[in-house]
Symmetry: D2
Subunit: 499 residues, 4 copies
């Protein structure tokens, strides 16, 4: 299919795709596929005001009814799965299976949020005073600003939006400048759902703002947007977090990961190899949860590295739309350059690099690379950094405590895993003295979370949680209430104060 056909199938019109100043390229071949109009930063106050007005209405709509809108959104996503998946592939360069998987994740979170819409459980709490009842209730908090990244251009938006909507909050979405087309398509899908839903959905429930830093900054700075959910680099999050905090907003940050796998002597090595390869090279190494560090027991390191080198050599690199391709392009040439630079640094720090070079015989115009396996003498500075590309550093350990220390030694704290068949090793890794990451798995890779769990991590990963568990609480405000229905006025802690 040509790019134009993909765009058209996803419902984007020529008028929408042209006439603007933001050039959008497909990483598949570097072709410019659109010139989008950008949001004028001067319009941001009005956009935020519209969101606030929508909030006044939406928070009064009962949550199960709000859930119905999300259910319809899920239906529309199901109907548009193939087309939207193809657009994701077009715009991010991820392979077809992953493009579809991303849409599936959107569908899953909608289903989940529909269920939540009849829960949003607070608590009734035993009060110490006779004739008093105490409760904790969760209320809508207001507009949510969603700043999403190019690598999951729509799934992360859907995580935030499905929850925000059932929680009673409108959304203002600023997608990555590199992936505004999938955002446009989602906006239209949402509008279909909203049209079916009817009048209860106010104008401005979902607004899309397209553009660069200034547009994002307007969201970050505005008191009218109490929640900012931002996904991206630690550098970005390090700016956004304090700014939002400074104006009394609530940041939900999903930032960088430097995700590791410990491979223990008892590991099922064949399974480990498959997990490593998917985790390290899937999405061309551009997942926040991509496997970046392999911490292998000394006794099996040689064998494992050999297997990996052998497997790496067989991985089909090329057009992500082609059946069989497992590694598509990087997002752009800048990413390729950054990867090469990191590999140079790694060599300088003592690393032995396998693979990692540009693949010029793939689709012309795209930034294709062979994934790199880098044997390192230790956890040097470059290993502690997140390079958003398929580089896997291999380190060696002897005792499990050492392996865990290596795993925890980096500033990021997103995802981690261990491959072992030993109960004691597995449980230690998951315990209070184990991995310090928000995600810690056993016998599966660090990437590919289910939406039922809370997603996120500590340290420079930013501390936010999205998706499952009680992540929805991040989109609401908590209220502790005590109702005195007696004719007395006792004080807590038995204080007497008789006037």
């Amino acid at each position: 299919m040509t790019h134009s056909e993909t765009l058209a199938k996803a419902g984007l019109t020529e008028a929408e795709l042209s006439g603007g100043t933001l050039a959008v390229h497909s990483p598949i071949d570097g072709a410019e596929v659109a010139r989008l109009k950008q949001t004028d930063p001067f319009d941001m106050p009005a956009i935020i005001a519209t969101s606030q007005e929508a909030f006044q209405i939406w928070r009064r709509v009962p949550a199960p009814r709000r859930g119905e809108l999300v259910r319809l959104l899920g239906e529309e996503l199901r109907a548009a799965k193939d087309e939207l998946g193809a657009l994701v592939t077009l715009e991010t360069g991820k392979i077809t299976a992953e493009g579809l998987g991303e849409v599936q994740e959107m569908i899953d979170i909608c289903d989940f949020a529909v269920g939540l819409s009849r829960q949003l459980y607070g608590l009734t709490i035993a009060s110490e005073r006779p004739g008093h009842r105490m409760t904790e209730t969760w209320h809508p908090i207001g507009p949510v600003g969603v700043i999403s990244a190019f690598n999951f251009p729509v799934a992360v938006w859907s995580w935030n939006t499905a929850l925000a909507l059932v929680c009673g909050d409108p959304v203002i979405w600023k997608p990555s400048e590199k992936t505004p087309l999938t955002a446009l398509a989602c906006k239209k899908i949402f509008e279909k759902a909203a049209a079916r839903f009817g009048d209860d959905a106010p104008e401005g429930l979902l607004q899309l703002v397209i553009g660069g830093a200034e547009v994002g900054e307007a969201l970050v700075a505005s008191k009218g947007v109490p929640v900012i959910s931002a996904t991206g680099s630690t550098r970005m999050g390090g700016v956004v977090g304090p700014k939002v905090a400074a104006r009394w907003g609530r940041p939900i940050l999903e930032l960088g990961g430097n995700n590791a796998m410990i491979v223990a002597p008892s590991a099922d090595l064949d399974m480990a190899v498959r997990a490593i390869v998917f985790s390290a090279v899937g999405t061309a190494g551009q997942r926040c949860t991509t496997l970046r560090r392999l911490i292998v027991h000394k006794s099996i390191k040689a064998e494992l590295v050999e297997k990996l080198i052998k497997t790496y050599a067989t991985l089909p690199i090329g057009d992500p739309r082609s059946k069989g391709t497992l590694i598509g392009p990087l997002i752009d040439q800048g990413a390729l350059d950054a990867m090469q630079t990191s590999l140079e640094v790694a060599k300088a720090e003592g690393g032995t690099v396998h693979g990692g070079g540009p693949v010029t015989e793939a689709v012309p115009g795209g930034a294709y690379v062979a994934p790199a396996l880098v044997e390192m003498p230790g956890q040097t500075d470059i290993v502690k950094k997140e390079t958003f590309a398929p580089i896997l550093y291999v380190l060696e350990y002897v005792g499990l405590d050492d392996a865990i220390e290596i795993q925890n030694e980096v500033p990021q704290g997103l995802a981690s895993c261990i491959f072992t068949l030993n109960v004691r090793e597995a449980e230690t890794f998951l315990s209070s003295v184990g991995s310090d990451c928000g995600i810690a798995n056993v016998n599966i890779g660090p990437s590919g979370a289910e939406i039922g769990g809370a997603f996120g991590g500590e340290k420079e990963t930013g501390g936010g949680r999205e998706s499952g568990s009680d992540a929805w609480k991040g989109y609401m405000r908590r209220q502790t209430s005590t109702v005195n229905y007696s004719a007395e006025l006792p004080l807590a802690q038995g204080i007497k104060f008789d006037v």
Copy 2:
């Protein structure tokens, strides 16, 4: 009892109380009661390192065993209740009943935390993949810096410490420079408990740092202290929050309140009067939850104000240790001056001030004032500010929606309440379109929370939650884990990636 006797009964020795540079005065009579040694800011790295070492040990101690330490702490607090209560009175000037109430709150939170120590519930979660189990576990996070304020010099510390300890975290406590003596006494009480507890409690589990801004800043700035729980002014929190965020720490902020009561036509007025007086003048108006704004229905305003003026005239002001006193001194002369300034501004903005002047016939040396009732023509600028003194602004409303809008119009979001006997009004006030505060009560004042509920509020109150409900999660890190115990490696969202 003389100050010296009170200090001695609370277990403080002459050696501890002298030889330093921090002068401590009793607000009762302004007398200097101690000169404490201050923590050298250069020692802070070592103190934090000690806390980190303690953490390495403490996090391995099973939580129910950690709970046993907190249980013993509760026992010691029970045993020391009278003496510690008297010291609170000496150092803060709050009346005896409130001093004892504060200690009771410490005891209550200990009991609560002991129960938590066998819970700290995470989740098991249904996984979408066969042969996989998914869980969410809560682990200790590391040293907690507690920065407390003068007005609840020990209760807020105990909230944080009881939870932090059962959660597996050591504590570094920086009390207000105005109230270090109660901190010293608590430290000694804790040490008694720790001695009974035995060897499982590492050195440095609780450290006390005494001093000013520099000492606090060292905590705020250090990556070695992942959680900073700070109670105090919005100004302070506005500095601390972004700084902690900037170094990837987690702030728990309990800042200013500008707490209101709506009094509806159906209110039980006698009950309301009692609630208003306690909430507005208790602790001499120096609670974060002190009632500062009274939003009264037009039809009953005259009657209510008259009752209040009459009651205010009868309130016993003076030595907080004396039986019968209901209003003790402000914390210092600066507080008195700030109050007078606010009253001047209120007048300039159209207010009619009843009372509010200094009470010179009370104990010499203390900053005693009559509580002020200020009828305002509307919610002017001064009304939107928190003056930490017994000033109660009276406003008028006609429709409930207006009343709620007035209530929500201020930048703070801590506590609020309504007095009404009408179901519709009460429930509307508690609903998503009602109060925007963290605490919203019906037929009780805004102050005097039970420890079973989560305490805190949104907006400039800082967003933190302490004490009951799941506030303990603020002291732990969350881990989402998936364990694959099958011999297959399915991917989430049904993605296929066959290498």
Copy 3:
């Protein structure tokens, strides 16, 4: 539409509807609409064995995948809403709006259960032993026998089935002998969903058994059916409960209600009248939650009774399919006779009966009645019994305590409510000294529960809970697990036992 057309539209074929021995009549006109084949009691062991085999497979299917089947079931129900609703009307005689409402409830529970399928939350629990982790997990328990009643012939089945399916349990459904047709139709709708779902759904996941007491008894008696969820009369439940208990099964009983409304002096009387009428005469008084007792404050009793009599006189009685009809027929002549008998007894016990007679000018062949309002001198024996017909007994009270005592004095404990605008009355009614029912409402009638809450009640109502909240736990078994991953073997409670 003719009955035949309604049956055909609902997908029932001539072959299915004839050739058997169970005559099915429509209460609308008494016409026989089918002769169904009945399940041979001798086949029950094989049916149960099939269910057990299905269980072996189904429990291994991940819960979110099981949820997908329920999602598809919800989709099919949405598609078939009108036709199934019409069939409910045909078979039970309830008016069209209620027939559709019942199907909507099925749809709602499916949505809710889909969300649950990614939760089914157990707990991780802090262990007192180092190197140990403790969890509580919920596992599928086995086949669930669902015995449903005629008045909600399909909604109650869907409550049980949606939950059972996501919980991993097959279902064997025995509908009321009076309403097997809607069951047949649901079975076919389920099969459509299962066909779309594919091979993961084993044969026998849902089995329908049609027939009388012997068939039900086989379910009740079998160890192969660990859960029996039975809805119906207290008499039936009083037999089923002990039998299931005796063979170590788990009964979930939803039995009779004798539901009351207290009307306080402050009540919004117009609202109360509407609530009373819907609750008392809706579904011709044949809901388990039908309002049967009105406990009115003396001061307003005359006025309220007058309003009710006036309103009762205007209620359109007749063909439930006709637009405007609010009261359709009773289920059969037996129900009509029982109603008349109860009214006679009520008179004998001092009651003044308004209305309540047969309505012969409605559709010939149907058991139509005018709803009865019966002023009683006190809570006599007949008032304490549940007559499944539109009889509303009116009682009088003076103090709220008395009203609550009257409310609680009956053996049933399902639903209750109060109409009052007074906070103290409302909260007292909901408190530990208030209503003893499983459902207690304020300013809405006792009937018409949302699926998000747990449905059921104590005392002779049977104690079961279905639908929302954690009712799903009734369909699973709980497992408490401790994993020791240390190399030590400490005992709980610090016991030493050194061999």
Copy 4:
């Protein structure tokens, strides 16, 4: 210490211990130590009425205040630990460490219940109707009858009582006829706590009834006792359960176990041996969770059996009060006879018996036995029965699936465990296709649960849960409430019914 001294130290007076008709013997030496007065069955209605009156008061006492009584009870138990532990040893024959461990468990549950007393969490739930709030609240339910067994004469009472009391329920306790003395002692300890607690604790909050079947039956039969918590044999529970169900009460049954351990090839055998011995012979095999079946992988069976035989030979049998003793007497001669009979049957069914004979050289008058290890050719009838004595049947398996099938093949479902170091085996055992028991452990024995988890099991174990997690809900009634605070009256499921 003489028996008399032990009794006196535990606070029992001569007057209490004599003059009655119930002879109490110590299993240590068979000596009669008391003749207790028994409760006259004719007094039971009055006792129950007193409990009901206490309930009217106690349910109004705020839960945290009720918790304070339990806290004081915990304090008194701590103070009386040694004396009460010694009395447990005297009356049950369990060794000193276990007697003390039992008291520790009582203390633990008190601490836990105190924490619960500020929770007893219900839910606030999102309502589908505007202007409505929905909640689920837990209320006190009424008197709880506790029927306890001889083997944990006081711990099980404390589990029930600590929870019942914080939940607002009075308790009527019928201890085993074999162990009324520890009950008497506990009653007195409770009274001390109640006296310190003061007037809020009504008369009759805890009542003790002493006697046989008739007294128990009165509890079981009475509608005045809504909850019956009964611990004991499956035979007893099989009578009690249906009877309580038949009068609409709620049974909480903790009945027999036939607890197994699977020992896999990868097991840490030394650890397994220690766990097996404690689990199989501790409390002379008279725990509900005693290990009764050993399912060993073929490859290690010979080695393990040899180790066990060797260890069994060294176990000190004798006076439970003596330092070093690990196996005390059986409860009485009847138990010894039953054990011998079972061993005979086992032999007849093909078993090879090691040990198991009476130990006459121990304390005269006591029923001392050597623990028996019985190698069985398969899981014969006798193996499927619970003989309350130290008999451990050894079975052999090849595949894990077989082992699990053997484990699940018995009618009981209490406790189970696996010893393995293999992740896949461990997790499979804990999964939906693993153990069907309420308790399933890895690398620890089946006995010795912590109080933080829910205790109990399915099948003939009775289905009840006590102690931790949400077991407290068994002592309360659940109320689902919807409050309409709007001026509209919408119906759920969108039904229209306009009168």
